[in-house]
């Protein structure tokens, strides 16, 4: 951890902001950095700028796929979509207009490093800009366009589900029963959610505007499940002594 000195104030190093964002800091260091961000407006603003810049870059990269993967994803979405979901004139989220959106959004984000009015505009208008170009994101009531299933291997008797960001809508269902297999299902609102399997748990790199639901089925050998959103623990479930199936719901929009 480096707190660089500028005149009479120590500020958090840019690299440490990235480490903090990625959950790479040891707990003690994380506490020190978060305490500092709570108190220091300059560092908090810098942290938010990096967060937005990183999100813009991830969004742009999300849209760059190998042609075979793009074709496969489209076919999969078509197969999964209810009849009429891809009516004439309806573009999938990863359609090429959104590439221009990514460039525009990223360009707008670029201005955040230089001008205060632009920073304010971006803070207020991120969703508006995105919606303006690609249309409103699907709501929870709309049919899901794609699902994916990933397997993971929990370590030990505790499991962490770590959401990197808060999001505007969505719910997490955690199910533990006697027949559970270790798997997770993502029902993507806009196809940009990404599950990353870590040794210590499952990390979901969700977006703030995504409206996704997550269904997890966990082995009964677990003793505790922790749900963390943007670095804060929002729920802890104990499965110790459990004799029958249990299900927990977490409202992701209100952590």
């Amino acid at each position: 951890m480096i707190l660089s000195t500028t005149q009479d104030c120590q500020h958090v190093d840019d690299g440490d902001l990235i480490r903090l964002r990625d959950g790479e800091c040891p707990l003690t260091e994380e506490r020190i950095l978060r305490d500092h961000l709570d108190k220091c407006h300059t560092c908090r603003e810098n942290s938010e700028r990096f967060e937005q810049l990183a999100d813009g870059f991830f969004d742009a990269m999300d849209r760059i796929q190998h042609p075979a993967a793009m074709r496969s994803a489209r076919q999969k979405a078509m197969n999964n979509a209810p009849i009429g979901a891809f009516a004439a004139g309806t573009q999938p989220w990863h359609g090429h207009r959104s590439v221009r959106v990514a460039a525009v959004v990223a360009a707008v984000l670029a201005l955040t490093l230089t001008t205060a009015p632009a920073r304010a505009m971006v803070a207020a208008g991120w969703r508006a800009v995105k919606t303006l170009f690609v249309g409103a994101p699907p709501t929870m009531a709309e049919p899901q366009q794609a699902t994916s299933l990933v397997s993971f291997v929990p370590q030990g008797d505790a499991f962490l589900i770590d959401f990197l960001h808060t999001q505007s809508r969505g719910a997490l269902s955690v199910v533990v029963d006697t027949v559970s297999s270790a798997s997770a299902r993502v029902m993507g609102g806009d196809g940009m959610d990404e599950l990353i399997v870590l040794q210590a748990g499952l990390r979901v790199r969700n977006r703030t505007t995504s409206a996704a639901s997550y269904e997890l089925r966990l082995p009964q050998s677990l003793r505790a499940i922790e749900v963390r959103i943007a670095g804060r623990t929002v729920a802890t479930f104990s499965t110790a002594g459990m004799t029958q199936a249990a299900r927990w719901e977490v409202d992701l929009s209100n952590p």
Partner: protein, 165 residues
């Protein structure tokens, strides 16, 4: 799990990473096949970090180029039958992809090869230590490198926007 199954598990992410890295789907597919051959011929001792190992091998393939002797050609043809068939892209995919690759090349113009590797492995969800091991640096330098590269990209986009205006 045998080598084919192990590789197929990681192939989509590897193709995606290499497409972003090189900006060329064909080079990405070739480098992916070379990584597969490397896995078959000289697999790592420990499969725990196989994903990082494959990304490192494939990145080195792109950097170093590769020689196609007769034996390699035969092996590559054999690999093609095992890996996911690519087939010709449909017209919509081609149009989308041209735009996307243009965006990739623009976004990543100003960063070095090492920064590009770090950024794109970061996007793939690798831990900082895994990225550091892959590029031969210390874990502590990954965060600052990502921050510096993001700033470069930000400036690059700013420049393109000014040029367009």
């Amino acid at each position: 799990m045998n080598a084919d199954e192990l590789f197929c598990k990681h192939q989509p992410a590897l193709l995606r990473y290499l497409t972003r890295y090189t900006g060329d789907p064909e080079i990405a597919a070739d480098a992916t096949q070379h990584a597969y051959l490397k896995l078959v011929e000289s697999p790592p001792r420990d499969h725990a970090n196989l994903r990082a190992w494959l990304f490192t091998v494939a990145t080195n393939v792109v950097h170093d180029g590769w020689k196609h002797d007769g034996r390699t050609q035969r092996l590559l043809q054999s690999a093609e039958s095992i890996l996911e068939p690519q087939g010709p892209p449909d017209p919509q995919t081609s149009a989308e992809h041209a735009d996307q690759l243009e965006l990739a090349s623009k976004l990543l113009t100003r960063v070095s090869d090492k920064e590009r590797t770090i950024l794109l492995m970061w996007v793939e969800g690798f831990a900082h230590k895994e990225i550091a091991d892959a590029v031969g640096t210390t874990t502590g330098t990954i965060g600052p490198t990502i921050a510096r590269a993001l700033k470069k990209i930000s400036k690059q986009i700013d420049q393109y926007m000014r040029e367009d205006v």
